[in-house]
């Protein structure tokens, strides 16, 4: 095992919904400043893994450790400060449609950090610039933006309060290849600029190869393979092979 202490670690995380077992012992660990990408088919528990890590879903068993501390045991201020270190980019952007773009980006600054509106707006506009959006986008509402722009705004909102652990849920899904690559570039640039640790889930292999320091494959609620992106093509695991080459025939049954 690695000697560097993990920034984020999930160990033996299990979760069932009713009789359906989604996670049956997920173990992942990410070293500080590294980027882990979890790949896997639809319905293999990628989103649930991410939501457990974020504290949005309570796992049935297992531990979630941030710098070695179990976040479920944290209470009050300790818990708040730990959760404030997280930033999340949702698959559908999940922007608040009753707020303008800049209010979305500055949401945590305004509501949690109680920053003055003018200062929060300046910071929001600077953050929008960091994801290459002009300042006047700030006045618009999320519904007035294209899908790619919404993703950028969502990325800006995730990074605005300078988190040091970032989560990306299918960051490129639903985008054309060029926009998707632009989002990949932004994710890499912003994560580096913050010195943040990143955990992404995706089924877009081009994106995985680009943003990952390490790739882990989730299948049937367990991590079945992990390695550097360069090793994806020689994994030696027929299930990873099937996924990488996108074949319907193989050990994994397509989810229909």
């Amino acid at each position: 095992m690695s000697v560097i202490p993990s920034r984020l670690e999930l160990s033996g995380v299990e979760k069932s919904f009713g009789t359906k077992r989604v996670l049956s012992g997920v173990d992942i660990s990410v070293a500080p400043g590294k980027s882990l990408v979890i790949i896997g088919g639809s319905g293999t528990g990628k989103s649930v893994t991410l939501k457990c890590a974020l504290g949005l879903i309570k796992p049935d068993a297992g531990r979630i450790l941030v710098d070695g501390r179990n976040i479920e045991r944290l209470r009050g201020k300790d818990r708040d400060t730990t959760l404030a270190r997280f930033g999340m980019l949702f698959q559908g952007a999940a922007l608040f449609d009753s707020l303008t773009v800049w209010e979305n980006v500055a949401f945590r600054l305004l509501n949690k950090n109680r920053m003055k509106r003018a200062a929060a707006r300046d910071k929001a506009i600077a953050t929008l610039a960091a994801v290459r959006l002009p300042a006047d986008v700030g006045r618009l509402y999320p519904s007035e933006l294209s899908g790619g722009m919404q993703k950028r705004v969502a990325l800006a909102r995730a990074i605005a309060a300078d988190p040091d652990i970032l989560f990306f849920d299918e960051p490129t899904t639903g985008l054309d290849p060029i926009t998707a690559d632009a989002i990949n570039d932004l994710i890499i640039a912003r994560t580096r600029a913050l010195g943040a640790t990143a955990v992404s889930i995706t089924h877009d292999l081009a994106s995985a190869r680009k943003i990952a320091d390490e790739v882990a494959m989730l299948h049937e609620g367990r991590i079945i393979w992990r390695g550097p992106p360069s090793a994806l093509d020689q994994s030696g695991d027929p299930r990873v092979d099937q996924f990488v080459h996108g074949r319907a025939d193989g050990p994994i049954q397509p989810a229909l």
């Binding site: 939501k51 974020l54 504290g55 949005l56 708040d80 959760l83 404030a84 997280f86 930033g87 999340m88 949702f90 698959q91 559908g92 999940a94 922007l95 608040f96 449609d97 949401f107 945590r108 509501n111 949690k112 909102r157 309060a161 989560f167």
Partner: protein, 263 residues
Amino acid sequence: MTHRNLALVVVQRIGAGALEAFEVSGRTALFAIDAFLSILRPPWHLAELGKQLIRIGYFSLPVVGLTAIFIGAALAINIYTGGARFNAEQFVPQIVVLGITRELGPVVAGLMVAGRVSAGIAAEIGTMRVTEQIDALRTLSANPMNYLIAPRVAATMIVLPLLTLIADVIGVAGGYAVGVTTLDFSGPVYLRNTSDFLEAGDVAIGLWKALVFGFIIAVMGAYHGFHSAGGARGVGRATTNAVVSAAVLILAANYMITTLVVK
């Protein structure tokens, strides 16, 4: 299938239904308590409260006013017709004002606002649920109870008594209009009878009811929206359930409050 098996299946179905009913009402009650406590607990999102006061209160004025005037008018005619059977038609002003302030003002305002606001809250929060905006709130260190639900509950509880007061005035005016135009009452006499007979306690009961109804309306909308799942269809179901449950609970609560105060 034998008769014994059939009986077993029936008993099982009834048992499962009863258990589910208990589970749902327990969960709703816990949610309601949590929502109530969230109003009292900082941080208060005052800007959000202001927005909701306008959306819920101000924009409900037309619908509450219009229904109140028709209810007051119809009430006056009914009391006149009924009263005429035993020579009591002169009591129209007194009974209209009593009926409006104690019962119909708060109930009509409550039901109309339930239709508008429960549905609106359920649809908005339900959509936020299915588009992961509620999860997003939590990852941005905002408690959805405090940020979303408390302002809506507080706003509805503040505006419904005010809307009820307005419904009271407009309802009495509706009765007055019919009274002087078609029932041959003299205007000054109608008004004097109304004001002499009315006690502050009658209005107060109506306002207490409105406070409770306001809570029911917002909590039902929030509860169904918050627990919606399954895309557009789930949001649609949440909206319907919110309105239906709010309306039923308003009428049940109205009966209970009336029984408690009129012994």
